[in-house]
Symmetry: C2
Subunit: 201 residues, 2 copies
């Protein structure tokens, strides 16, 4: 990405997120930024499909997207929502050039920063602080996914609904109810009963 290209959109929240994680001098940060590419997607547009090799890793500047999988029987389940400031992608399959098991779809019009497999490798070699931040991020993420799995076993649907509402309230204003149900692993009918009970509607 050239300097001219970088000026076309606002990188503030991206650089803020990086600075939050690592201390690095600004010239390196600009060099790092030049590896990323700006892309836009329309509402409902697919960014990448299962059975495709993922072309890039993503940082969300604006909008919201969902990551989901479809079973052999055709049942769909959402495993992740990425809003502004979230990283999302399928790095193992992008790096090994194998097909992903996941669909990535824009739920809203999206402005994304994307990092190709080639540039991912460059960043890994050139910027150890990025590797460090990456590794720390993944370590935290696996712990939180393990916690999520534990909670699916231990907590009721209502408890998990309330936890998500508490931790990501904005998500509920931008995502349809049946997507929330899919993410929580409950039926839309159960979600509806939970909402009636909580909000007295």
């Amino acid at each position: 990405m050239t300097d001219k290209k970088i000026k076309e959109f606002d990188t503030t929240i991206f650089l803020e997120e990086i600075r939050k994680r690592v201390s690095v001098d600004e010239s390196q940060l600009m060099e790092f930024l030049s590896l990323w590419e700006f892309k836009t997607f329309k509402r409902n547009e697919f960014i990448s499909s299962a059975s495709e090799i993922p072309r890039f890793s993503i940082f969300v500047l604006k909008g919201c997207l969902r990551q989901y999988t479809v079973s052999d029987k055709g049942d769909e389940t959402i495993v992740y929502f990425a809003e502004e400031k979230h990283f999302i992608g399928d790095l193992p399959n992008m790096r090994s050039k194998t097909a992903s098991g996941f669909y990535f779809q824009a739920i809203e019009p999206c402005e994304l920063l994307t990092l190709s497999a080639e540039n991912w490798q460059k960043a890994f070699v050139q910027f150890p602080w990025w590797t460090d931040a990456h590794l720390t991020g993944y370590q935290k993420w696996t712990a939180s996914l393990q916690q999520q799995i534990a909670e699916m076993n231990i907590k009721t649907g209502e408890e998990r609904y309330l936890k998500l509402l508490n931790s990501r309230p904005k998500l509920f204003q931008r995502v349809p109810q049946h997507f929330i149900a899919s993410y929580l692993g409950i039926s839309p009918e159960t979600l509806s009963r939970i909402r009636k009970k909580i909000f007295n509607i």
Copy 2:
């Protein structure tokens, strides 16, 4: 760990696992190995408890251990079984010196290689190939945890039982049935019904 100490136990499977992931010369590998410490644990002994700061990361040379969490109501759920050749630990909390949310317990007498927080940091700085292998491992692990979450929503208990039986048959010979139930997020009674149906017992 000194050369003498290293000779006290068999590091073959550990070095095999490392060589499978990266190509690195033997002298570096020995230097890397010297950062690890050999520890044994008795059956049922706790390696680390929730509310404790984890002291080390683990590679299993022999034995089997479980990672689990306990809810406010006292319900226990297993999130991971580590057998021979598995890495296990709570790196985010070990590195940040904060309390873990997980218990780590030996299910069998265990022989472990352990890496302290201090030596983890040394390895990260000295051996970029280790960092690379680590990052790749974590990337694959998050994808597999996301897949596991999806399957908890999409697949029946029976389907998940059969998948685990197929992928880790030895686990079923060394782990009590109620641990398998806890890991699959089903009741011991449901597991019993599933086994009766499948094996006609």
